[in-house]
């Protein structure tokens, strides 16, 4: 699909608005505290909008709808988990974390356990989690620009990288707060209007909801196959292939039998009007399978998959450095709690719309189910369903929202990376923060181009959640509530959890394990590691801390009082970097 000038204009407008608001915010940024924690002056309303704006990445904006279109009911667990993570954060982390007075997650580790070695380990983990999270954002930007404007894949990461680095280098946390709050409302608008428009169209067309939705095209559709895919054909009538079918060169040949067929790269698939769309092998092909829960997201052991997604997303948010750092910008613990609650409300509102769009994508653009590039569904659905000027306007709006999603999350992650690197590797001055931001923003660009990105956006982000849930989450939860945690225990837990989940994620991104090995358990554990690695990390921290009991910090009572006693009693101390 080639881009319309309208879409290009909308993209440009979103970028210009982002940079302009960033520039406006720069006027308020002077001290290191401004750059790191916006001088702790952000109220719950602004902060909640900023957190949601930053949190709703491409994985939520594009990925959730794509996964729902592809896999059906079980994909609904991703948005539920992404929201529920904030309940965990609210219950166990928000207020004490803010009251600790720390300014980054590694700083919290040093505050709580008094060990500069642990601080370094935590810093490494923060950088790793952020990079795991940044890479899919950059990749998504490449895919999105390719889908909507037809640009080469490498342009997306480079463009997003440059804009984000510019913004972060210029204004740090202060200006990012304004930008991210704006981006939440932009994203909500950009996804709500197309979703509601499609809802209207759907009721005008059919007038009933909830029946099994068969993926059927309404007009003749041609799909270009770019890489070899195995598809499941439920009903072969009206499906013709030119190129390579099952390894044999063919020209405009009808697929004869239902079942699995391999389409070679460079083939084109033509669907007559009313034909049932073939779907990627391993995804539900009939409407009844798609609408039922319990079928999983491809591969075996669907119940384990769902439980592991629940563990990763419910606990992962507690370990996301770019989310945690935003809670340090609240003025006090009470505001931090109210922020978390407001975020739950804002996210619940937002996720209604990707769910709708996912359902309608299956209806109106089923061709995305063939290539497996379901992430493009949101971008393609409005134009295909409406056509004409209305369709183009909606497509332009969605494109603007998508670019906002890439920019918001990437800048938040970059602030975290830069904050950790600047204060722990460099000397913590404003200049160091800027150097760190440039380095941290450039590293993921080659990584995002090197890996092929075979996983859907939501799933690769889900893997970053698994790493966060297996490392920083136990550090924070045990650090805040358990006096027995020691620096050695925490470090061992971070290393064990980080290695276990990191290895799984790397293998999964590199292609995963074959489903047939040992009944599919290794494959599913690599693809959904959290249910194994999170308990492992918690257990390691607790066990090693028990063994090294004597090395607990001496002023533990003072530290716990600071974290848990309300600010009114005047015990809080705001930590600031050395520089």
């Amino acid at each position: 699909m080639t881009g319309s000038p309208l879409t290009a204009a909308a993209l440009l407008a979103a970028v210009i608005a982002t940079v302009a608001i960033g520039v406006y915010g720069v006027r308020f940024s002077r001290t290191t505290s401004d750059f790191l924690v916006a001088s702790r002056t952000v109220g719950p309303q602004w902060n909640a909008a900023a957190i949601s704006g930053e949190y709703l990445s491409a994985a939520s904006f594009l990925g959730v709808a794509g996964l729902i279109a592809k896999y059906g009911a079980d994909a609904l667990w991703y948005p539920v988990g992404f929201t529920a993570g904030y309940l965990g954060l609210l219950l166990f982390v928000a207020a004490p974390l803010r009251r600790s007075g720390a300014y980054t997650v590694p700083d919290f580790a040093e505050f709580r356990l008094g060990s500069s070695r642990l601080r370094k380990v935590a810093m490494l983990v923060v950088v790793v989690v952020c990079v795991y999270y940044l890479v899919p954002q950059y990749q998504g930007a490449g895919l999105a620009l390719k889908a909507i404007l037809g640009l080469p894949v490498w342009i997306g990461p480079v463009v997003v990288g440059i804009i984000v680095i510019t913004n972060v280098v210029a204004g740090g946390m202060r200006s990012i707060t304004f930008v991210q709050a704006f981006q939440y409302w932009l994203k909500l608008t950009a996804i709500a209007i197309p979703a509601l428009a499609l809802l209207g169209l759907f009721f005008a067309d059919r007038g009933e909801m909830g029946g099994p939705l068969p993926p059927v095209v309404n007009q003749q559709t041609t799909v270009a196959i770019e890489t070899d895919v195995v598809v499941q054909v439920a009903d072969p009538s009206g499906v013709t292939v030119s190129g390579t079918l099952d390894g044999v060169p063919v020209d405009a040949q009808h697929i004869r039998a239902p079942g699995q067929h391999t389409l070679g790269a460079g083939s084109t698939l033509t669907l007559a009007s009313g034909a049932a769309t073939p779907v990627l092998s391993g995804t539900p092909s009939s409407g009844a399978d798609w609408i039922a829960s319990g079928r999983g997201l491809g591969g075996g052991h669907p119940l384990y998959q769902v439980l592991s997604i629940i563990v990763a997303t419910f606990l992962g948010t507690m370990g996301l450095p770019h989310v945690l750092v935003r809670f340090y910008t609240n003025p006090d613990g009470r505001a931090a709690r109210r922020t978390a609650l407001a975020v739950i409300a804002l996210l619940s509102l937002f996720y209604l719309f990707p769910t709708l769009l996912g359902v309608f994508s299956r209806l109106y653009v089923p061709q995305v189910l063939i290539t497996g590039n379901a992430d493009a569904a949101v971008l393609l659905a409005p134009d295909t369903a409406f056509g004409g000027l209305a369709g183009q306007l909606l497509a332009a709006l969605v494109a603007a929202g998508a670019i906002a999603a890439f920019l918001a999350t990437s800048s938040g992650l970059l602030v975290s990376v830069a904050g950790a690197l600047a204060t722990d590797v460099l000397r913590g001055r404003v200049r160091d923060f800027r150097v760190a931001a440039v380095v941290g923003g450039l590293i993921p660009i080659p990584l995002s181009l090197a890996t092929t990105g075979g996983l859907e956006l939501s799933r690769s982000v889900g893997l970053a959640f698994a790493v966060a849930a297996s490392t920083l989450c136990p550090l924070l939860v045990l650090g805040i509530w358990w006096r027995g945690l020691t620096a050695t225990g925490a470090a061992c837990g971070l290393v064990v959890g980080g290695l276990a989940s990191g290895t799984a994620v790397t293998v999964a991104v590199a292609g995963g394990i074959d489903d047939d090995v040992l009944g599919g358990w290794p494959a599913v554990m690599i693809g959904y590691p959290a249910a194994v690695t999170v308990p492992l990390a918690f257990a390691t921290m607790i066990l090693v801390s028990r063994l090294t009991r004597t090395s607990a910090p001496a002023d533990i009572a003072q530290i716990f009082a600071r974290m848990h006693v309300p600010e009114r009693l005047g015990m809080g101390v705001e930590r600031v970097p050395r520089g």
Binding site: A73, V80, L91, L303, I344, S348, W481, H564, E567, G570
Partner: protein
């Protein structure tokens, strides 16, 4: 901007009321005497207990969804207002549960803190 006549930045901390009468229990908490430590432990226990209880409620409700679905697949096929039950629960009702529990927690946690400050600031 007239930056040259800008006053020096000052840090204002409302909690330190210098000259105000300090209540003895407040000093005990700040100085972490045995009494103060016991008070802080009590507050922590209350807050953690509250958080854990609410978490258990949410976990039971959430984990029950896939387990119930695996045990009784027919349950999800019920339609309410034209929408299948599994979609209605996961696409809408779960969010209401999450927000409701969060709201309850914020109210009760702030209540616990007010009680704590009340105990600390009351002259015995």
């Amino acid at each position: 901007m007239t930056s040259n006549e800008k006053p020096q930045r000052e840090r204002v901390v409302l909690a330190h009321r210098r000259g105000a009468r300090m209540v003895r229990t407040r000093v005990e908490v700040q100085e972490q005497t045995q009494v103060g430590d016991a008070l802080v432990r009590g507050l922590m226990r209350a807050q953690l207990g509250l958080a854990l209880r609410l978490a258990v409620v949410v976990i039971c409700a959430v984990v029950a969804i896939p387990l119930l679905n695996a045990a009784f697949p027919d349950l999800a096929a019920i339609t309410v207002l034209g929408i299948r039950l599994n979609w209605l629960v996961l696409g809408g009702l779960v969010y209401l549960l999450l927000y409701g529990v969060g709201r309850l927690y914020v109210r009760l946690a702030e209540q616990a803190e007010r009680d704590f400050v009340g105990v600390v600031d009351s002259e015995p």
